[in-house]
């Protein structure tokens, strides 16, 4: 089995996922961390969309009255991507709200600074 040449959409999505993960680990700024998380989400959508595609078929909207399973692509990954997008939007909004509260309290977005200040406050 050697499909790396034909599966380049999946390959790109995996690489994007890795880049997002790296971003999540390397960035100290909290907002940039969540940008990394969103890149990971996008990679998963790309993977699902690539899995649903079938060569030479059309989008799953009835065209010319043809009712035939071998004429349309797979509609299930589209629904799954929709779920993923909704969850990603919700998680991003919630985490950004938390970041805004953190910024109001500590005056910085740097995670190490926040940890340091909170440790100092606890010590006092």
């Amino acid at each position: 089995m050697n499909h790396l040449g034909t599966n380049f959409y999946e390959a790109v999505s995996v690489i994007l996922f890795g880049i997002g993960f790296m971003n999540l680990l390397l960035q100290n700024n909290l907002i940039k961390k969540f940008i990394g998380l969103n890149i990971m989400d996008t990679a998963v959508y790309l993977f699902l969309a690539a899995k649903g595609y079938v060569m030479g078929r059309v989008a799953p909207v009835l065209t010319d009255g043809i009712i035939d399973a071998y004429y349309y692509i797979n509609p299930i990954p589209a629904g799954l991507v929709l779920t993923g997008i909704v969850v990603s939007v919700s998680v991003t909004a919630f985490s950004l709200a938390l970041v805004q509260r953190l910024y109001k309290h500590y005056g910085t977005l740097n995670m190490d600074e926040i940890m340091r200040i909170s440790r100092e406050e606890e010590g006092e």
Partner: protein, 301 residues
């Protein structure tokens, strides 16, 4: 190392019966303690995080390893776009071949997510609602979490919104916002006939509302969209959705007894409950999107 050798010699002598080890426990305790200390010093998370270069190298290495493993998995995945792939199985055939008869929706994806899997979509709408409620909980302006400085800034913003000219933004917003909202309504209402539906149309309506709010300010927005309307639309949409879809529970999973007229596929008034469900979802999503914007900028809807 030396101590280890010593201990080993002692043990050897003891096995040979040449001497008796009286303080072997002490040796073992000191040795194990030392080893434990060493291990902790080498692999403590704090040390790694403190050493920026090592941390960066490790992060890149872990990500690269992850990418490598996943690429080797992708190498073994079924071929892209091949019609005989295991994902294209009888579930998809069922949705595509009897979807029109059973749901009446021309857009198979809408028929799938709002009829076969309507409870999943209900949960998605609930997730959005929960997210906006937690953002309200965290960011809504009230006396305890709002300082005077922020309030002064807010008042300045309101003043600028009213008195500043900003002709490009204001005229552009005035012309574009109604068109964008109209297009969003079109996408929502045609969810069962063409690509689109409640989620995408709702997002477009939300974008139009955000454009209008950024051009004319929060105060003008509040003449027709207050927190009360926001809650009423969100909760009303969710409750209508719940009531519409509960009929499956009351009439059995196969919709026995109470058959909703499917209409002619392709007409705007067809496809059973898909159109009202799309409208509910669209309203919830539009309110949620605008709610996020308003709460993040001004802390109030």
């Amino acid at each position: 190392m030396e101590e280890k050798k010593k201990l080993w010699k002692h043990i050897k002598a003891w096995v040979d019966g040449e001497e008796v080890i009286l303080d072997a426990d002490k040796y073992i305790i000191t040795r194990s303690k030392k080893v434990k200390k060493d291990w902790r010093r080498q692999f403590s998370v704090e040390t790694i995080k403190g050493n920026t270069k090592l941390y960066g190298f490790l992060s890149v290495a872990i990500s690269a390893l992850f990418i490598g493993i996943m690429l080797s998995v992708v190498n073994d995945l079924p071929e892209f776009g091949n019609p005989s792939n295991p994902v294209d199985n009888e579930v998809m055939e069922r949705y595509l071949e009897s979807g029109i008869e059973e749901t009446g929706a021309v857009n198979f994806v809408a028929g799938m997510i709002l009829d076969y899997r309507a409870f999943d979509t209900f949960a998605e709408a609930n997730v959005l609602f929960l997210a906006v409620m937690s953002v309200v909980l965290l960011l809504k302006k009230d006396k305890q979490n709002y300082s005077e400085k922020e309030e002064r800034e807010n008042r300045e913003d309101d003043f600028f919104d009213e008195n500043e000219k900003r002709p490009i933004l204001k005229i552009g917003g005035k012309i574009l916002a109604p068109l964008i909202i109209l297009y969003g309504i079109y996408v929502v209402l045609n969810g069962h006939l063409s690509p689109g539906g409640g989620f995408s149309g709702g997002t477009i309506i939300g974008a139009g509302l955000i454009l209008y709010a950024s051009a004319y300010g929060q105060k003008k927005m509040q003449t027709f969209f207050t927190f009360r309307t926001f809650t009423l639309i969100c909760v009303g949409g969710l409750l209508t959705y719940c009531a519409c879809k509960s009929y499956s529970f009351f009439t059995g999973a196969n919709h026995v007894g109470f058959e909703i007229p499917k209409g002619i596929p392709g007409n705007i008034l067809s496809a059973g409950f898909i159109l009202p469900l799309n409208i509910c979802v669209g309203l919830i999503v539009a309110c949620t999107m605008y709610g996020f914007y308003a709460l993040f900028t001004k802390g109030d809807i």
